[in-house]
Amino acid sequence: AMEKKKTYIIHMSKSQMPATFNDDHTHWYDSSLRSVSDSAEMLYVYNNVVHGFSARLTPQEAESLETQPGILSVLPELKYQLH
């Protein structure tokens, strides 16, 4: 059965974006994601707070993505509470 997917925050190192993407970092993010999963959906692309995006991945896909060039970290989503 498909391993349960979870949401991850993926931090990218923009300085390692291949020139072929002509500065289109969203396209680069998407192609990085596609390299580990055909079905993964991108939730958000961040511009100010993170160079990266959030996506729904299996733990195995997350692990594989972490080894891709330009990926700084793949961190599991956290849940916060009101105080």
Binding site: I9, S15, V50, S54, H83
Partner: protein, 660 residues
């Protein structure tokens, strides 16, 4: 809020805080459960056009349209992809997929920070007065990131990302997660980016007090806010059949109890469940509670739910007792039946009466709202405490502000208890938590930003911290309700906020983004961790020696190495050196340092002892060398103070010294 402006001295400071246009150009972004736009606190009379700097939007969605915004509530967005991806599509019969606040928390915090003036506010007549936010002329933009099922970090990051694009000046987050390192904590990550854009990020410290090491949101680029009480209370006495009276608090309004003593029963003796004393759903035996006053213990389920359970079982009233965790701290609730909350000691005495008297009776006498309560403020028992578990050398919390029994705007979707069975609807509600103290500081930061548009987030926080007070007018130290003793910097940080003084602090401790990056080098962050947090390639200069003690923080937390178990010969001592830079934001002046050393065994040497400033924004460096014998790690922390004064301004910093 009512009463808080007076308590903070804002009512006398109209001339201090110029109601200039600069004030009404400040935009406070609030990440929370959304907003109830119909609240009177979003009245925009007298406000000019939306600031030209504003880039945000008023998004439409379930039960919310862009027409709901105005010149006070200038922005409203919602973020639910992370929430829905994890928990499934939002059930729009239960919550609004829009900025609309179905909970009340977001309306409460946003109106506390920047609500307009509303005459004749109260909750059922309790806490009556003119309600106003801290920054009545600031604009408010809400970012809904918290839903019935929680607040998810992918949504929080998206909201912070958008708030930065929208050009807010202050961000207020009354939420927190578990304790994780800065590069893994989405609030810390988002706050770093906001800080770089000159946005002050104010966060709640957490409600996990009084345990030590219980703080949330401790990143040094975040303003971390603890909670204190006001000088206001809502007394509701318990009168027992043996003639004794005990203090309690309550916000109950409704049919009074009959004018006679009623049978009184302990919930633990009116249930077949082992935890029947907690008055949880379905645990009370109706025959045993019908028409009686029921004593319930706090814990597990919500306080107001206990009242609802007693009412559903036919009880006439409830006395709710604290446990050791909350001690003598009394938090008032708008219960659905006549009820009052009493402290742990009172609860013990009442429980004894119930077990010893063969025919125990009681009643509850409601006294409404009382002001001028002293001592106040006291640190709330629930307010999370230091030391900072991630970086012990950064003293947290930064400051405390009013967070107990705070009246502010509320949603029209649920009643004041938030319980489904509560069909009452109110415009204002009274609730407690560091969620309430945080927006106080967010609003005060907006006031300072309006008065000093050129100040950085660190400068604003520094002004709030170095002018905070740690003693009452009678000279006695601020108390911690959980101990009944003076609170420490691990409880109150730099002290209780004093906005009027903060307006003219004299000197400030400024911190730039690069200073924070050097701080991360001192933490031995890897280039990848720094890059994740700061979104740039930053290499720590190998030839430079980095130290967390060099971060220009307005307070001091000193961690000496604990002695090794086997110690022979004379007691070794160690010294730790801190450096600080003060920037002059006031008139020319000469400042002299006063050091309060907590004990003769610890030496605090400041060099130089005098700093003279001749112009605005002039910077001067000083060093502090702390010397102490090595002690065992069980040695309790000790606290001192470093103050610079030119006779007109006092620039105060707390010092916390520990052996770890």
């Amino acid at each position: 809020t009512t009463r808080t402006p007076t308590f903070l001295g804002l009512d006398k400071s109209a001339d201090f805080f110029p109601e200039s246009d600069a004030m009404s150009d400040v935009i406070i972004g609030v990440l929370d459960t959304g907003v109830w736009p119909e609240s009177k606190s979003f009245d925009d009379s007298g406000l000019g056009p939306v600031p030209a700097s504003w880039r945000g939007q008023c998004e439409s969605g379930t039960n919310f349209s862009s027409a709901n915004c105005n010149r006070k509530l200038i922005g409203a967005r919602y973020f639910s992809r992370g929430y829905e991806t994890t928990l499934g599509p939002i059930d729009e019969s239960k919550e609004s997929k829009s900025p609309r606040d179905d909970d009340g928390h977001g309306t409460h915090t946003s109106t506390t920070a920047g609500g307009s003036v509303v005459q004749g506010a109260s909750l059922f007549g309790y806490a009556p007065g003119t309600a106003r936010g801290m920054a009545t002329r600031a604009r408010v933009a809400v970012y809904k990131v918290c839903w019935v099922g929680g607040c998810f970090s992918s949504d929080i990051l998206a909201a912070m990302d958008k708030a930065i694009d929208d050009n807010v000046n202050v961000l207020s987050l009354s939420l927190g997660g578990g304790i994780s390192d800065y590069y893994r904590d989405s609030v810390a990550i988002g706050a770093f980016a906001a800080m770089e854009k000159g946005i002050l990020v104010s966060c709640s410290a957490g409600n996990a007090g009084p345990s030590p090491y219980s703080l949330s949101n401790v990143a040094p680029w975040i303003t971390t806010v603890g909670a204190g009480t006001l000088d206001r209370d809502f007394p509701a006495y318990v009168s027992l059949g043996n003639g004794k009276n005990f203090s309690g608090v309550s916000l109950y309004k409704g049919n009074s109890l009959p004018n006679k003593m009623l049978p009184f029963v302990y919930a633990g003796n009116a249930s077949n469940m082992t935890n029947g004393n907690l008055c949880m759903t379905g645990t009370l035996i109706p025959e045993k509670v019908k028409g009686k006053i029921v004593l319930c213990d706090r814990g597990i389920n919500a306080r107001v739910q206990k009242g609802s359970v007693v009412k559903a079982a036919g009880g006439a009233g409830m006395v709710l007792t604290n446990t050791a965790a909350n001690g003598e701290e009394l938090v008032a609730d708008a219960h659905l039946l006549p009820a009052t909350a009493v402290g742990q000691k009172t609860g013990d005495v009442i429980r004894d009466y119930l077990t010893s008297d063969s025919n125990p009776t009681a009643t509850i006498l409601f006294e409404g709202t009382k002001v001028g309560i002293e001592p106040s403020p006291v640190v709330a028992a629930f307010s999370s405490r230091g030391p900072n578990s991630i970086t012990p050398e950064i003293l947290k919390p930064d400051i405390i502000a009013p967070g107990v029994n705070i009246l502010a705007g509320w949603t029209g979707a649920v009643g004041p208890t938030g319980l489904e069975e509560d069909d009452r609807r109110v415009g204002f509600n009274i609730i407690s938590g560091t969620s309430m103290s945080c927006p106080h500081v967010s609003g005060l930061a907006a006031l300072l930003k309006g008065a000093h548009p050129e100040w950085s987030p660190a400068a604003i926080r520094s002004a709030l911290m170095t002018t905070a007070y740690t003693a009452y007018k009678n000279g006695r130290a601020i108390q911690d309700v959980s101990t009944g003793k003076p609170s420490t910097p691990f409880d109150h940080g730099a002290g209780h906020v004093d906005p009027v003084s903060a307006l003219n602090p004299g000197l400030i401790y400024d911190i730039t983004a690069d200073d924070y990056l050097n701080f991360l080098c001192a933490l031995n962050y890897t280039p990848s961790q720094i890059s994740s947090l700061a979104r740039r390639n930053f290499t720590c200069n190998e030839s430079k020696k980095f130290s967390v003690t060099d971060l220009n923080y307005p307070s001091f937390a000193v961690s000496f190495p604990a002695e090794s178990a086997a110690r022979t010969g004379s007691v070794p001592s160690s010294s730790i050196k801190y450096s600080r830079t003060l920037t002059n934001v006031g008139p020319a002046g000469t400042y002299k340092v006063t050091v309060t050393s907590p004990s003769s065994s610890v030496r605090i040497m400041v060099e130089p002892e005098t700093l003279s400033f001749s112009q605005m924004n002039e910077k001067k460096l000083y060093t502090v060398t702390f010397t102490a014998p090595s002690m065992s790690s069980s040695t309790t922390s000790i606290f001192g103070r470093i103050e610079w004064s030119d006779e007109k301004h006092v620039v105060g910093s707390p010092v916390a010294i520990s052996w770890t």
